[in-house]
């Protein structure tokens, strides 16, 4: 009963309805579109705001051993999840080792937008979370890429990790902005946050709505174009893997003794699949892998699932396992 009310509350929130509008418009072939520059501007705003707020929260609460444990757990989770995803894909689908590894990388990494939506759900439910979970999100972006490259190297394909590729993996724009704004928020603390709160706190939900409208459009267009690649096995994987990742994230949260909010966010990070950083790295590192498979799965299947049902499932589960 509690889960149903959570799910319904989530489904009727402005951010989810904005995503649904974008999805509907794309599937109905409406001419509605968000210009690329606007979409990038919105994503820069969201990354800066979430990073800054997280850093300011850490300045307030201080650093502790729990943060270091969470960062380590996040890195381990990001390294490990691609192996589970790869094994599942090889069993459930007919994907080649190359395509399976490329898809697996996406599921070890994270979607920062799903994370942001998760924090919104927590705020709506009045549940606190640790600000440094943003740092955990940043740490989880890259290790999965290395796991995928190792999986491919075993089959004698792929390319070596040169300086260019390391730069792509470790210094992609979203990581630099997220970590950078986190550090700025950490240095300037509550006073710094107060100064720019009218810009990064008050408009945040509205900007997130517009951004998710765009994400709905992109996801809908991707689904329309890539229906041919969405075989039943892949579809089931796209809906099952987030639950496996969320379970691993929840386990990490419990082992670290995190509260309900942070445990839920750990589950969100484990469940989400990248569609910004990893696709870019895969295009460079594994150009022969089919982008329509991994982009459709991460953005067209797992992302909508996490937004519409997943967040409510993860919050209910986090409450159950932490007693919150």
């Amino acid at each position: 009963m509690e889960f149903l009310s959570l799910a319904l509350g989530n489904l009727t929130s402005p951010i989810i309805l904005s995503f649904a509008l974008g999805l509907f418009a794309a599937l109905a072939r409406s001419e509605l579109s968000v210009p690329e520059a606007v979409a990038k501007g919105l994503s820069i705003y969201l990354l800066f705001a979430i990073g800054f707020k997280g850093g300011a929260a850490v300045n307030e609460a201080g650093l502790g051993p729990t943060l270091l444990g969470a960062l380590l757990a996040g890195a381990v989770l990001s390294f490990a999840l691609p192996f589970a995803a790869f094994a599942l894909l090889r069993v459930m689908t007919r994907l080649s080792a190359l395509d399976a590894a490329a898809v697996a990388a996406h599921y070890g990494s994270i979607s920062i937008v799903t994370f942001v939506a998760g924090t919104s759900v927590l705020e709506g439910a009045g549940i606190a979370s640790d600000g440094w979970m943003v740092a955990v999100a940043a740490v989880m972006e890259a290790p999965a890429i290395l796991s995928a490259l190792w999986l491919v190297a075993r089959s004698g394909e792929g390319r070596s990790l040169d300086a260019d590729l390391w730069r792509e993996i470790l210094l992609n724009g979203s990581i630099v902005l997220l970590v950078g704004s986190f550090v700025i928020g950490w240095i300037t603390g509550a006073e710094g946050l107060d100064r720019i709160a009218p810009f990064i706190v008050a408009p945040f939900q509205g900007v997130l709505c517009l951004f998710l409208l765009d994400m709905g459009l992109v996801a809908g267009r991707g689904l329309r174009e890539a229906r041919a690649v969405l075989r039943p096995g892949l579809l089931i994987f796209g809906l099952t893997m987030p639950l496996i990742g969320a379970a691993a994230g929840g386990l990490s949260g419990v082992m670290l003794g995190l509260g309900t909010g942070s445990t839920m966010l750990f589950m969100v990070l484990g469940a989400s699949a990248s569609y910004i950083a990893v696709p870019a790295a895969m295009r460079v590192a594994l150009p022969a892998a089919n982008p329509s498979i991994y982009l459709t799965l991460s953005l067209g299947v797992t992302f909508p699932f996490n937004l519409t049902l997943g967040l409510a499932i993860y919050l209910a589960a986090a409450r159950l396992i932490t007693g919150g």
């Binding site: 979409a39 890539a226 950083a277 696709p279 982009l295």
Partner: protein, 103 residues
Amino acid sequence: MQTHSAKRVEIIIEAMMERRLTEALLAAEVTGFTVLPVHGGSGRSGHWTRAGQIGRAGGMVAVVCIVRPDRLDGLLDAAFEVVESHIGVVSVTDCEVLRAERF
């Protein structure tokens, strides 16, 4: 008006690869090129559009170079090393230019 024969090379490649390609061109002493945004299109990998994209993985760019005919092979060798395994199109057309000393 006096014109001179030249080769126009257009390379449409993933936005991800732009810097790598232009660096390879510079290393091959091809110092003149223009990078143009590509709005969208369709090919062997399906239909795509730049609209709404926030990552660089979904976008393409066009790199256009105009060189003297005797410099074409060096340019193509340098470019092909980068673009060989990636989505994209490489085309070469004959063209006429003014001010030949600039190429």
